[in-house]
Amino acid sequence: MLEVEKISVNFGGIKPVDQFDLSLQKGELVGLIGPNGAGKTTVFNLLTGVYTPTEGKITLEGKLISNLKPFQIAKKGITRTFQNIRLFKSMTVIENVKVAFDNRINYSILDRLFNNKKYKDQEQWLHEEAMKILDIFDLGEYAEEQSMNLPYGKQRKLEIARALAGDPKILLLDEPAAGMNPQETLELRETIKLIRKQFDITILLIEHDMNFVMDICERLVVIEYGKIIAKGTPNEIKHNERVINAYLGQGA
């Protein structure tokens, strides 16, 4: 459903991503791995429109999206989380999710000023839907807390919840397990399995925790210096000479 054809981006002579190819099938869970500075997050920024590729094209279900802005791409069905958590810090947990629902409600300011039925119905619906998503992530009891007061692992979960609220077709997770303790990582693994079941969604994730990646990903893409150096199943990647030299090291 997502086709990435030979995209490159050029920052004044430096090419953090060079001739990157990727094809995602519906329902897949694919991992993007590689050493630090390999260009993994830049790939995410290209997919979500934060950067525009200087070469190549990206199509989602046959439609070109590489020329769109981030909010347009999000509306078309690609949402993401961030490596350095980007929550709406001073807002409550449930408001964080409600913001992401904004494209699914449409009452106007006038509807709000007169407190009419349309406003009340839509806010009611929004509240219920937002609570449903929070409950999936066991965040229901924190709904009215300020999001910056959540523990780290829960902040990461909230970011995933917020990304899912936009009803995406493809979810991009940028190091979802970074900074988590083993217990939290274990929970995250279960959560990801759960959302795949519930939301019928395609996931592409970046992660450095190899146990985590090898366990949940069906397919891996390895990049180094912006270029793909290997593709394949976790098992193939584990024994790939080039990947071992570039990234995994002899011990793995």
Binding site: T48, V50, K69, P70, F71, A74, K75, T79, R80, F82, R86, L87, F88, K89, S90, M91, E95, N96, K98, V99, A100, D102, N103, I105, Y107, I109, R112, L113, N115, Y119, Q122, E123, L126, R162, A163, A165, G166
Partner: protein
């Protein structure tokens, strides 16, 4: 859901109105004091509208007085050139002034809001000055002499009603999906963008709503002072409004209103210091900012005076226990 707060607010404002009106009727407050009260009320309109862009959207705007000037001139020109009864032409003029200011706001917002932070501040400062200079050079605005003999339509009651309406409307907008998105943009623009929010659209919207109310405030100003000239709407006035917003606390409507009142009173109370007034005023500002950098909130007042109210959780517990 939040209509409770609105009712409470309306009750408080009716009481405030009754007290102030009674003072004026019985002669406890003279014309001088009434004048200060109206000025403070207009300042509140300007400050809460600026608070919407600066406090809630989080964008620095240094040309708010420019929009006030547009509203003042447009409404004054309308009432001066029309020959209708006051109750028709005055509301019409005020609304037209507001709408015209909002349109200029959109026009300025489209190029300006592509920038952020300090850069946007400088741009709005520039546009504010452009508005002033245009007013200074147009024939219809009577150049540097300005307009005099504007009908004296604004009074305490009308201004008070407009202030209440402004606060209620802004409060409701802030507590709507639009307001939620505006705050989200302040909190993290990239994240808002990546969940499908057209940040540019909402920024322009917030900017023009603020300009709308600034224009309305300008209309009231023109019909209260009856004389307006371009220098009334200069850069220093924009800064004054910004000071109220910052002092009231970013993203804090209640604090902004309170700061508007406090600064208005302070400004007058310091008249005794004559030429040292601005120095004392500035020192007080610095002192307040250092001690209360988050602005004036119910929280800070409660902790300052040691008022302990049950928290929401406690109230719920009480309720469940049937206390």
């Amino acid at each position: 859901m939040k209509s409770n707060t609105t009712t409470k607010f309306l009750a408080i404002s009716i009481i405030t109105y009754a007290i102030l009106a009674a003072c004026m009727e019985t002669g406890v407050s003279n014309g001088y004091i009434s004048g200060i009260i109206v000025s403070i009320l207009i300042n509140i309109i300007m400050a809460v509208s600026l608070a919407f862009v600066t406090g809630y959207l989080g964008e620095l705007v240094l040309g708010h007085a420019g929009f006030m000037g547009i509203g003042a001139y447009v409404s004054a020109i309308i009432t001066m050139n029309m020959d209708l009864p006051m109750f028709i032409e005055f509301p019409l003029a005020i609304i037209c002034g507001g709408i015209f200011a909002a349109l200029v706001g959109i026009l300025i917002g489209i190029p300006a809001l592509r920038l952020r932070g300090d850069y946007l501040g400088i741009i709005t400062l520039g546009f504010g000055e452009i508005i002033r200079i245009v007013l200074n050079n147009l024939k219809i605005t009577n150049g540097a002499q300005g307009l005099s003999g504007v009908s004296s339509y604004s009074n305490f009651t009308i201004t008070f009603i407009v202030v209440i309406l402004t606060i209620v409307v802004l409060y409701k907008i802030i507590n709507s999906r639009q307001g939620r998105v505006v705050v989200a943009i302040r909190e993290n623009e990239i994240a808002a963008d990546c969940v499908g929010i057209s940040t540019f659209y909402y920024k322009t919207m917030a900017f023009s709503i603020a300009a709308l109310f600034a224009g309305i405030g300008g209309g009231l100003y023109a019909h209260y002072h009856t004389v307006i000239n371009p220098t009334s709407f200069g850069f220093t006035l924009s800064i004054e409004y910004l000071i109220i917003v910052v002092l009231g606390g970013m993203g804090n409507l209640f604090g902004t209103i309170l700061a508007g009142i406090i600064l208005g009173v302070l400004n007058e109370a310091l008249r005794g210091f004559s030429e040292y007034r601005t120095i004392v005023y500035s020192l007080v500002l610095i002192a307040i900012m250092i001690s209360r950098s988050k602005g004036i909130t119910l929280q800070t007042i409660k902790s300052k005076f040691n008022i302990k109210l049950p928290t929401k959780k406690q109230r719920q517990e009480f309720a469940s226990k049937g206390v």
